[in-house]
Amino acid sequence: MEKKDTRSGFGDGLYEVAQKNNNVVGLCADLTGSLKMNKFQDAHPERFFQVGIAEANMISMAAGLATAGKIPYTGTFANFSTGRVYDQIRQSVAYSDKNVKICASHAGLTLGEDGATHQILEDIGLMKMLPGMTVINPCDYNQTKEATIKIADHQGPVYLRFGRPKWPIFTETGSFEIGKALHMRPGTDVTIFATGHLVWNSLEAAKALAEEGISAEVINIHTIKPLDNKAILDAVANTKCAVTAEEHQMNGGLGDSICQLLARHTPLPVEMVAVNDSFGESGKPEELLEKYGLGVKDVIVAAKHAIARK
């Protein structure tokens, strides 16, 4: 299977959307290469703003550019895109309802060797708490590229989260729609709701479960906010239990959103595959996913537990 990093999906998507839409501008805080923004920068140097290592200035400047009618895409690592600039996003972007696209690479453990200072696992929670913020965590190159293009036509602030490692490409171009869950694999015994890199691990888990005679449905929740409530409730109406899987803290992530929804509408067993109140560390992406309980086998175990609790 072909593999590519999701950040390349962002870079290619940004280039493509900027070709079509003259209002698209890009800002970067000294990570042009890491964010794959070079192609856009080379094609549209006048629409590219290098701000240096000054993320707070970048986010508030993006709010200013949006005020004047531009569609700014900011690019830096997920940690510096959220925690470092939370107040700027809260006041100048979210509360001021600015059409800023906060594009965040190197999210989660799969950043790898740089370690916990850079492996933010709290960003989805931080962003989804902000009123009016749309939060998207695509799962592969194609989906990231398509999301990057489609958020330009969405009026309002967006947090777009993607990652560093090369990852299998398994979604079809044309399958992404903001706020609409994507059915990846049918199943009747359990529904696995997954986001980001963990969608692939969930599909691998579903395959292994099938060999044991367990039928696991996999649904890709790329848009964590607004959540596709109907797709989620329809799925569990059939399977009667769920697993959530994400490269994020259990607190504040996708699992937490789905548990809130189910608790209010139809309380059912849910098992959560997520980092359990811990920072990450240096290591290879696959090693880290395994050590922190986000590997394929962890999804398999969670599915069996969920089914056993029905």
């Binding site: 200035n57 508030s60 400047m61 709010a63 005020t67 009618g69 107040d87 700027q88």
Partner: protein, 282 residues
Amino acid sequence: MPKSITELENHVAQTRRDIVRMVHGVQSGHPGGSLGCAEFFTVLYQNVLRHNPTDFQMDGKDEDIFILSNGHISPVYYSALAHSGYFPVSELGSFRKLDTRLQGHPTTHEGLPGVRVASGSLGQGLSVAAGVAQAKKLDKDNKLVYVLMGDGELQEGQIWEAIMYAAHKKVDNLIATVDVNGRQIDGDTKDIMGFVELRSKFEAFGWNVISMNGNDLNDVEETLSKAGVLSGNGKPICILMETEMGNGIDFMMGSHKWHGIAPNDEQLESALAQNPSTIGDY
């Protein structure tokens, strides 16, 4: 038609009345810094800005744009916006009350015409203004972007990121005014976290720096006009504006104590007696 100095003086007196009445009416808000900037807002909104108050457009294309960074001086801002026609003057009476568009700190959230970004958490306005200024350059729009910051606000690190950016990128359609009143909540700025002086710092970063007495209408008018002339020359422009916090109301001057407290009934009466009604109260 630019207003004469006499007309501007009347506006300033009315602005002072608005400020103390608004803050008194809800027994909260920030009168000190607001009063110090009454002349600046009056000249800017009555004679300088090329704008369309009766047809407010968020993008402000082909208009001068003003961004208030130190949002706590919202009373003077709201008074200036109302008296230049952005919204009815009568709305000033709703300041800080439930369901108002005139929130404690300015915001776009309730759709108040004239406000383009929320401010209150300090240090962000210069960056926002730089973003608007960059967009104007991209659009070949030759109008200007004005921003006001407090001197205490310059203690925020983000301000210096923006100062660096604006000079490096030659954002020369940006006119940043610093309200140098020398006061902040906990005391005098020189004691809390003094800068020694600001001119050399802005100049070292590559800005064009001019100064004025912010409580002298003639000086404010001349200096703002000079700043406009200096624009477009490859450097952002900084105006160091010396003001007296609480200016125009004797018992509020000479101290940081009136940064964020409201006058009582007697104090209001005294403040209003010092600034007779001119244009008419809301």
